[in-house]
């Protein structure tokens, strides 16, 4: 707990919708492409053009709004948000203002502090802007010689989701984003790739004395492009505000930029005036009327959501809550798990492999489960071999590593290895010697007290034997060779 203050956190999220075409024209809405190749007179804002609303975007937005328990407005209106910015072709953004698509929703989160309910203030539709590249040595606007505009993203449908200030810790905010991302994946409304900018998040943070019902002065933190960044930025910002308050200072209401390299938030250098967006109803679009039939049709078509899936994983597969939570943290993860189970693997064993070896691999390589070369059926087969005692768990782990690298079937790998481990002490000692000779720096690290260095050396021996060396034995031989425990 933080010395008498509690943090109050609200999030504002932008997610690009997974539509084929843009929000108001038929241009390709997919990511990437040579600059300005996915444009037309409409999304370039040429004189005389008019917007035509993408019905699919409305449907996807309605899906998410319903999944977040929002009330869908029977009649909603698009507004123009007026401000000058070079990556915005019309110098206004078509957005929604006082009549958004969805309001008054909520999302329940299972947190360390118990289940909390985060209110959803609104869900609305708007168009994305283009991208500005500042041409200078630093890549920043200050000192740049000129700027280039890419309008490929201009006009891509965006969802804006605004929460109530119902979160109290960075962890809760991170959980919220994770859950929201998972929901959007299950609904197939967005790709949710933070690094490509298809999912973005700003946070409003303020502190107040514990027990106070009033809100303190808040700052808005921007530029957090991963869950980790969100967590760390909030953690930093809360500490910064607390130190300010505790030393008798005051928090200044401002927008702050998260600098992931320096691990700090810094005030954005903006002009000292408040933006006046001069919202007014977009006269080029007619109000959007969503009748009951449409809304109920969308509701009926909603797939299973993460919370329901989590419960089903616990009940149908007998998984512990922790496993169920992790396996439903993304749609792809849950789908993979179910595929492994339906290929014949016992649920708990499948869960253990996925949360252990597979997750470790994903984390180490920073890859998504979609990119993994091992198919669910192959993993199920490997698990089956362990269950039957064909291979040992240790052996299986080695085989799995090879499967990850090569995408080959476990059976063929095991056969190739002859399922034999090299336990010949003489043969291994020679290899250990070789590895120690080849890696003097690592050896030094080990002697300097780095535990991990040993693992690396073991790995080197394993590599030289195609994974067939008995790791236990290699470990012993290495320790002997290096003269005992690290640092000792």
């Amino acid at each position: 707990m933080m010395g008498g203050y509690e943090a109050v956190i609200g999030l504002e999220i932008h997610a690009e919708l997974k539509t084929h075409s843009k929000m108001f024209c038929s241009c390709d809405a997919s990511f990437g492409g040579e600059p300005n190749t996915k444009t037309c007179p409409v999304c370039l804002g040429l004189p005389g053009v008019l917007p035509v609303l993408n019905r699919r975007a409305v449907e996807l937005a309605t899906r998410l709004a319903l999944a977040l328990n929002c009330t869908i407005a029977p009649r909603c209106v698009f507004h123009r948000k007026n401000y000058f910015y070079p990556d915005m072709p019309k110098n206004y953004q078509i957005s929604q203002y006082d009549l958004p698509l969805g309001v008054h929703g909520h999302l329940d989160l299972e947190t360390e502090e118990g289940t909390i309910r985060v209110g959803i203030t609104r869900v609305h539709l708007e168009e994305d802007t283009g991208k500005t590249v500042h041409v200078s040595e630093s890549g920043r606007i200050h000192g740049s010689e000129y700027s280039l505009e890419d309008f490929n993203r201009a006009g891509v449908p965006l969802l804006e989701i605004v929460t109530e200030p119902d979160m109290r810790t960075p962890e809760q905010a991170r959980l919220f984003m994770q859950e929201l991302k998972s929901i959007m994946e299950h609904l197939e409304v967005s790709d949710c790739k933070m690094e490509e900018g298809s999912l973005r998040c700003d946070a409003n943070v303020s502190l107040r004395p514990v027990g106070s019902g009033e809100l303190g002065v808040k700052t808005e933190v921007k530029n957090m492009n991963s869950f980790r960044a969100l967590y760390r930025a909030l953690d930093y910002e809360i500490r910064r505000q607390r130190e300010l308050l505790e030393s008798g200072g005051e928090v200044v209401q401002e927008t702050r930029h998260w600098d992931a390299d320096a691990n700090v938030t810094t005030p954005l250098r903006t002009k000292e005036y408040a933006y006046d967006y001069r919202y007014f109803p977009e006269p080029d679009l007619v109000p959007l009327e969503l009748d009951r039939e449409f809304v109920e049709g969308v509701r009926a078509s909603l797939p299973e959501l993460p919370a329901d899936r989590r419960q089903r994983f616990r009940e149908a597969y007998g998984l512990p809550p922790h496993d169920a939570a992790l396996l439903t943290s993304s749609k792809a993860m849950g789908d993979y798990f179910e595929a492994v189970v339906s290929a014949g693997a016992p649920p708990k064993a499948a869960s253990n492999w996925m949360m252990g070896e597979l997750s470790a691999y994903l984390n180490a390589r920073q890859v998504e489960i979609e990119e993994v070369r091992v198919t669910p059926a192959q993993l199920a087969e490997l698990i089956g071999m362990v269950e039957k005692g064909t291979v040992s768990v240790t052996m299986a782990k080695g085989v799995f590593q090879e499967m990850l690298e090569s995408g080959r079937d476990p059976r063929s790998i095991v056969e190739e290895k002859g399922a034999t481990q090299i336990s010949d002490q003489g043969e291994l000692e020679a290899l250990v010697e070789e590895v120690v000779r080849e890696n003097p720096k690592v050896v030094e690290d080990f002697r300097g007290g780095k535990d991990k260095a040993l693992g690396f050396l073991v790995g080197q021996v394993m590599r030289k034997t195609g994974g067939r060396a008995n790791p236990q034995l290699v470990n012993e031989l290495l320790l002997k060779k290096l003269g005992g425990a690290p640092g000792g």
Binding site: P86, Y92, Y279
Partner: protein, 489 residues
């Protein structure tokens, strides 16, 4: 025989099909006139005689083979320079778009091309259609062919002057607060502002999106019906375009006005009318009575607030619509030390005084803290005006008024006094606010200058408007031409 350039379009359509004339001959007649008077009248910003000749040649070729080239083929047309024309610069009479060449055709232009469009050029106008005299053009004013010391009206002044002067046979204009009807009235022509949503706005460079409509400026009502039938109809590129069947406007011209209920809003017959305008309008009303119509005075109390509401709503929308002219992507750019300076310099030198005035008015009206008092209030007034018309159309089939309180005024007369300039649209503005259609036809002369009569109708009831206008046109027998010997020749 009258010279070809003074024929009605429908006459030429028939003559071309009877092979009495060729499209090239018609164009040559217009070209001859252009060479003689364009320097004095200045109807056009950009001439496209090369393209016109190609179109005329193509029309002749088709006609020669006995094939139908479309109703616009071989009929020289002036197109207001606010409509995008692919490959032909579209300036909106502004320095900021002086060299702007669109990559696409406005829907109305594309439709006309499908009907053989023979475009003589892009007609002069008030910059971004803001004005009532065509004096706000960055390319210099257009003069009224009836009297070169007078304005042709605006903002579609170039379109009207071209048709009046014989530099085109018919024209397209746009009307946000009277910009088709007022110049038609000043130049002795027929001008129609269609129901909002009947004609596509795609490719019409926006001034005030909720008020803008494209429409015809022609020499008679039949031409007006013909041109309207070529441009009307749903366009999937315009979300505000109405999904309706377009009636046959030419056959709507048949019939009479017996039993027609005609209302005359007292608010539009108040002081400010010149005696000649008043008597010409009263004369037309007497004619209507004589033809069997029931003419009665009525009242639409909120029309008194129309001008005020309009000068909030139109500038508000304009301030946003014109934000895109910033020097970043197209049009004029004046470099600066940084982006903001570039914006400022580009817009300061690219826009004229009236455009800047309206951008400032509109920006102010939408500002936080003022929105409700201005924009919000204006929208409420607009709703009341819509209600007034709805109520009036329960009792009347059409409403009639002068198109303008005065005939064409002198060049420079109102330039220094924007308010008096705004007042010249007092009769036409309520129509745009209500979204209803209205037509202006010539109904007489005052001191040798034409007077316009405005007939307003129910939403999508252009057919009735055209019928009443056709009956009156015949009864009035207005066949005046711009006065020779006053400079035009």
């Amino acid at each position: 025989m009258d010279e070809l350039r003074y024929k009605r379009a429908w006459e030429l359509v028939e003559m071309l099909r009877r092979r009495e004339v060729s499209a090239l001959e018609v164009l040559a007649s217009v070209r001859e006139r252009l060479e003689k008077v364009e320097e004095k009248v200045h109807s056009y910003i950009t001439l496209t005689l090369g393209e016109a000749e190609e179109a005329a040649r193509a029309a002749d070729a088709l006609l020669g083979e006995g094939r139908e080239p479309g109703a616009a083929a071989g009929i020289p047309m002036a197109v207001k320079d606010v409509l995008c024309t692919r490959g032909v610069r579209t300036t909106c009479a502004s320095r900021i778009l002086e060299n702007y060449v669109p990559v696409y055709d406005a829907t109305v232009v594309a439709r006309l091309k499908g009907a053989g469009l023979t475009m003589v050029g892009k007609a002069n106008m008030d910059e971004f259609a803001m004005g009532s005299s065509t004096e706000n053009s960055a390319f210099g004013p257009t003069r009224n062919p009836w009297d070169l010391e007078r304005v042709p009206g605006g903002s579609s002044g170039g379109s009207a002057a071209a048709v009046a002067a014989g530099e085109a046979v018919w024209a397209l204009g746009s009307d946000t607060g009277g910009s088709i009807r007022q110049p038609a009235a000043f130049c002795g022509l027929v001008g129609l502002k269609p129901t909002y949503g009947l004609v596509s706005r795609y490719g019409l460079v926006a001034f005030a999106s909720s008020l803008d409509q494209v429409g015809p400026i022609t020499r008679d009502v039949r031409d007006c019906a013909l041109l309207l039938s070529l441009i009307a109809g749903h366009d999937p590129r315009d979300s505000t375009s109405l999904q309706v069947e377009v009636p046959d406007y030419l056959s709507a011209l048949e019939g009479d006005v017996r039993g027609l209920r005609v209302g005359v809003p007292a608010e539009l017959m108040q002081e400010g009318l010149t005696p000649g305008v008043r008597s010409a309008v009263e004369g037309a009303l007497e004619l209507l009575s004589g033809l069997g119509a029931e003419v009665e005075e009525t009242t639409l109390p909120h029309l008194d607030y129309a001008l005020s509401a309009y000068y909030i709503i139109a500038p508000a929308e304009a301030s946003s619509n014109l934000a895109r002219y910033d020097g970043v992507r197209y049009g004029l750019r004046v470099e600066g030390q940084d982006m903001l300076e570039m914006y400022g310099r580009t817009r300061a030198s690219g826009f004229g005084a009236e455009v800047k005035r309206r951008i400032m008015l509109g920006t102010y009206a939408l500002s936080a803290g003022y929105y409700e008092a201005y924009y919000g209030q204006a929208q409420k007034v607009r709703t009341l005006i819509v209600e007034d018309f709805r109520r009036a159309f329960r009792d009347f089939d059409v409403l009639v008024s002068p198109t303008t309180p005065t005939p064409a005024f002198a060049l420079g007369e109102k330039v220094e006094d924007p308010l008096s300039m705004y007042l010249s649209d007092v009769c036409t503005i309520p129509v745009n606010l209500a979204g209803i259609p209205a037509i202006s036809i010539p109904c007489g002369l005052e001191d040798g200058l034409p007077v316009g009569l405005q007939i307003m109708g129910r939403v999508l009831d252009e057919a009735t408007l055209l019928r009443v206008a056709a009956v009156l046109e015949e009864a009035l027998d207005f066949r005046e031409k711009p006065v020779p010997g006053r400079g035009v020749g």
